[in-house]
Symmetry: C2
Subunit: 419 residues, 2 copies
Amino acid sequence: MTDLLARRAAVLGPNMPTFYTKPLHLVRGQGVHVWDADGRQYLDCYNNVPHVGHCHPKVVDAVASQAATLNTHTRYLHEGIVTYAERLTAKFDHDLDQLIMVCTGSEANDIAIRMAHAVTGKVGIISTDNTYHGNTHLVTQLSSRKPPIGGYAPFVKRVPSPDTLRPLGGSLAAQGQAFAASVQDAIDALVAEGHGFAGFMFCPVFANEGLHDLDPAFLQPVAQVVRKAGGLLLCDEVQPGFGRCGSHWWGHDRMNIAPDVVTLGKPMGNGHPVAAVVTRPDVMAAFRNAFGYFNTFGGNPVSCAAASAVLDIIEDEGLVENAFQSGRALTENLASLNHPVVASVRGTGLFVALEVERDGVPATDVAATIVEGMKDAGVLMGRTGRHGNTLKFRPPLPFSKDHAAQVAQTLDTVLRGLP
Amino acid sequence: MTDLLARRAAVLGPNMPTFYTKPLHLVRGQGVHVWDADGRQYLDCYNNVPHVGHCHPKVVDAVASQAATLNTHTRYLHEGIVTYAERLTAKFDHDLDQLIMVCTGSEANDIAIRMAHAVTGKVGIISTDNTYHGNTHLVTQLSSRKPPIGGYAPFVKRVPSPDTLRPLGGSLAAQGQAFAASVQDAIDALVAEGHGFAGFMFCPVFANEGLHDLDPAFLQPVAQVVRKAGGLLLCDEVQPGFGRCGSHWWGHDRMNIAPDVVTLGKPMGNGHPVAAVVTRPDVMAAFRNAFGYFNTFGGNPVSCAAASAVLDIIEDEGLVENAFQSGRALTENLASLNHPVVASVRGTGLFVALEVERDGVPATDVAATIVEGMKDAGVLMGRTGRHGNTLKFRPPLPFSKDHAAQVAQTLDTVLRGLP
């Protein structure tokens, strides 16, 4: 592995990030498990990309079969993209009837922002201040993690993220109005500075902000503010979408929100690079009139075959219901852990967070130690949130109640071993 | 097909473009041929994505085998990306020893521009005025085809493209200096306006500008100007790369240029969505220090397997040499056509252009009629250039001299049938 690390640094650059102090060298995956080069098995509670399970044979077969038949682009007619688009849009309400297929969630969000530009004729965009919507030049403007060379684009404003333990406005009850008020302030600033207001981009479960415990009514005030100002609601479903929330296929339906644009990514093709933007016909028409968009790989027959297989499997194996049941089990099991660093357990479906504090202060180092300890004990997981002190459990959906019990038991042991 | 078109318009939007007056409904591909839903065979002289041939079984097998084994991301260690990166960078000179893998050429060019930002600390970028480098918000600023909502970014300047029949500076001999002079003017303007100069992005065969017939010394003056101003040469090899030029693996080596950053895309995975940025270690370090870049799908084991299979096939089947030989045959066959609309035949390897004029004027409509006629006669091809009057032949590389003869013969018939 030392050799592989050195070779990797030579060709990818020495500061190309890896997970874990001692990086993991994976060689095989199946279902909710992966194996390293030494043959060691890990329960995967991190990876949301292999949504229907690592290496699901139906996805592999669909990709192989279509790749052997035809793989071109959308300037020719093909049944694959049409049938897939019909199936996928049927899972949306709110007149979200049309889509553009692309390759990554970043590309999808880059388009969503330009859809708001096209509909409103304005450029101002608002996001939260501890978010991540992707890696293009435009979309990275929405993240406050690292300012770009030349400074931030002035047409992007960031507002404080909602929080569970330190809610905006001082209480969970006041948080929705406080959040909406800061978005209103940002709108006013964008208008005053001449950019105008085009849209508000958000993840409906605020995953990167720490997967906060928000009432289904939380987004109503901000939605009203955005609508009143003529802006679009740009809903990034890259993480919550495709049933991960358990109760619904999409995070926005869980939050009773009717977005104008929805973006999809990671889980859509179970690892095949496919993503999409779903929107209303009027928004699509405005975008296509304003921008001459074409994506060479987007919506190719193989990508559509992978994505169709994912829909088949979610339906055939009842994975949304499973996310609900196993997610509830995981949340309950984690909530039953009795350890002073556990400050909050929250989540929806198979997207569960456990926030770690010491003496009422976010304990980033403790969370990092736990993630390493869990890996050593055979469970892969991650961290999220502003302080990186929130443990994140986000497994492939074929995750059972037994796996939930295993995770809680392992975490209990790791917590007891904390220095 | 009428039904499929209507269903397509309903879910993708009514103004989603297709090729041809009567769009083609493809169902199968193999080697240099595709078949439509009626079983009709076409010789494919358009598609450069299926670089080693449609549905090459070795690519299909590599993708299927890896997809059944493991498909994760680059925050775990994996042999696949390291081995591929070593093989690919070995094909580059000029200390271009490191890479970032992404999913699309657009993502690659979006990074390349930010590499220039990171190295120089400036933001000004220059491109030609009839180019296309991709579809992200940033990269579309380099195209003059459709101004974005809110106007063009002021830090991008566009300079007149080189041309074969209407050369800058009045003659082919003067064109290199004239091109360099306009880049110098653009640099001066960027500096005067406070943006500073970061880099010049170009396709080394000027494919979208019309695939112009440029002496290998053409780019020397502009390279000197860019270097002297401290800017980076950002070379978009999405179209010319991977041996299409026949004489070399990369277009920049054909033009005797040492770029600072090279971007790769379409042919890299034979249709699997994979792309890359190749650069020197010092540029990579500057980029990674300035930006926290991660791409979920980029460099995943399946993408690396597809890309590795493409390298194997190019080498095993001698496809670069074949591009040289068959490309020469195609160029010679086309040049031997005797018809008044043929104003210029030019190209490199299996990237060949035939410019169409009437009475010394670019004949866009005639070129469009020819493309439709060729399709009806069983040959797929496209158009390029500022006026869309340049026929473009860009087939998969396993294209033989017999195919070249067939194309010329078919074109002869179509030209004779022109109104």
